[in-house]
Amino acid sequence: MRYLILVGHDEKGGKTLSEEQHRALFTAYQKYEADLRQAGVLLGGDPLQPTERASRISSEGGKRKVLDGPFTESKEIIGGYFVIEVKSYQEAQEWASRCPAAQLGAWCYAEVREVQELQR
């Protein structure tokens, strides 16, 4: 079964990190990715650019509505994702628990979601 691990954080929290903390975080993610890869469960994933270059597009009364980033009013943003293939939900949850975002305090989190297989 396929799962998405979403890395969420509050954008301000990420910006208060010192350069050293940033480097440590980068190393932690490298190790995490290597662990996923070596376990043979990683299908894909990437970090995402900050929301300075992002837009939320919706419609209102049939008209296009574009909200450009950074999204100062939203508490949390998605900072990256991993796609994994594992045997059970618990295994996915266990991998999500090992994501650096799950281990660094309340300003960030890892969210695990099962990918829905569409029967077309």
Partner: protein
């Protein structure tokens, strides 16, 4: 605090993630698959007891490694005490000294895993035994899970694994990495095991379902692990590419009522784009590594890649597929490969060229019961306007096939050829 059931579920997940590394490390220390498995399970039970009270630690893997090393050290101390009692024999057994133990802790996990891969897939074991042992030791599957995947009784698998471990001991199989001169042969055995697991899922030889995707996923996982362990081996990349591209078609291979849909008739929009991409990437890595000398897996992956790149069936690069089959036929000659080559040649260069390859296969006794041969031949003959012969061939194919769905397709073709004959009577 977690409920007992929660702890058990988390434990099963952690076991699947950690047990291969754990067992691999222990095998190096205690030089016995059996004992290593026992110690890993002990460490696990100990961990569970602790975790149900205090919760799962942030790094359960490290926790387990430490606990397992401790019990391995205890086991080794015990062995040495026993040995000391028999000192007069003066035999230094395989048990490592304390110094080498400390040293061995620094070894990379990767080497341990690779050693375990080669042990589980050792050629002294039967293919069945290799498959079961590999899924158990490296796939982290329980005996029960393996049994249900292969639709056999649990005791059968348990016995197969026990016997395999005994064989390893009796034949004195070492736990060293293969010597460079043995690597190709030993690696072939590993690749064969992984592809066997994959095909058992992809072509389900047992049971009602004609696919068991869970086994495909297990094989893919093992393939990815192996590709990480041996990143420079072209054939490992080839197998991984082949499996991923084939697995990308799983959703498209069955129609609404569960019937088989052949490659050229599949809705390519249903192919799994993530697996196609992963497959083509592995193929590119493999081709770069092989430099002009691709092996059999890489060639098959390249053929699968030609199909994967074609947005529509009519875009397929048949001349290239025909050329790849020719290389494959030279490397691993077989009438089946030859027949597949004929199909590609037919698509690329017309039915007469294909028939010239197909006809000699009629004399091959290995092909006497193979329904695909008269089916392909019928197709060539029909395209050449030899409808009466085509009808006879497709009827022969229908009589040979054991698959009911395939038979009804062949019978329909026979009827179509018959109709075409009355529509255009021979002069």
């Amino acid at each position: 605090m977690m409920s007992a059931a929660d702890t058990r579920r988390v434990a099963a997940a952690i076991w699947r993630i950690e047990s291969p590394k754990l067992i691999a490390m222990l095998v190096r220390l205690v030089r016995s698959v059996d004992l290593a498995e026992e110690l890993a399970q002990e460490a696990f039970v100990e961990a569970l007891a602790g975790w149900s009270a205090s919760g799962v630690p942030a790094n359960p893997g490290a926790w387990l490694m430490t606990a397992a090393r401790r019990s391995a050290l205890d086991a080794l101390r015990h062995t040495r005490r026993v040995e000391r009692k028999h000192e007069q024999v003066g035999r230094e057994l395989a048990a490592p000294s304390a110094a080498s133990f400390e040293e061995s802790l620094d070894d990379v996990v990767g080497d341990d895993l690779l050693r375990l891969v080669f042990v589980a897939c050792h050629p002294v074991l039967s293919p069945d035994a290799r498959v079961a042992l590999t899924l158990r030791l490296l796939g982290g599957l329980t005996t029960e899970e393996i049994a249900s995947a292969f639709l056999v009784a649990e005791p059968t698998i348990a016995q197969r694994i026990t016997r395999a471990k005994r064989t390893l001991t009796e034949k004195g199989v070492g736990f060293e990495l293969p010597r460079p001169e043995d690597l190709t042969a030993r690696l072939d055995s590993v690749l064969e095991v992984i592809y066997l697991i994959f095909n058992e899922g992809y072509l389900a030889t047992a049971g009602d379902a004609w696919m068991r995707p869970a086994l495909c996923e297990d094989a893919l996982r093992l393939g990815r692990v192996l590709a990480e362990l041996l990143p420079e081996q072209a054939e490992v990349q080839g197998l991984l590419a082949l499996m991923q591209i084939q697995a990308s078609r799983v959703r498209a291979r069955t129609g609404p009522s569960g019937e088989a849909v052949l490659l050229l008739d599949q809705d390519r929009g249903r192919w799994d784009a993530l697996l196609v991409r992963g497959g083509l990437e592995a193929l590119a890595r493999g081709e770069a590594l092989a430099r002009q000398r691709p092996g059999a897996y890489l060639l098959q992956a390249a053929i699968a890649g030609c199909h994967a790149r074609a947005v529509q069936a009519q875009d397929t690069d048949w001349p290239r597929i025909a050329a790849l089959y020719e290389l494959l036929a030279r490397l691993a000659p077989s009438p089946i490969v030859e027949l597949n080559r004929a199909v590609a040649v037919g698509k690329a260069f017309g039915p007469a060229a294909a028939l010239a390859i197909v006809d000699p296969l009629l004399a091959d006794p290995a092909m006497a019961d193979y329904a695909f041969l008269p089916s392909v031949r019928a197709d060539c003959l029909a395209q050449l306007g030899r409808l009466e012969e085509a009808q006879a061939e497709v009827e022969r194919a229908a009589a040979l096939t054991k698959n009911a769905q395939e038979r009804s397709l062949l019978v329909a073709r026979a009827a179509a050829y018959a109709r075409a004959q009355t529509a255009t009577p021979e002069p």
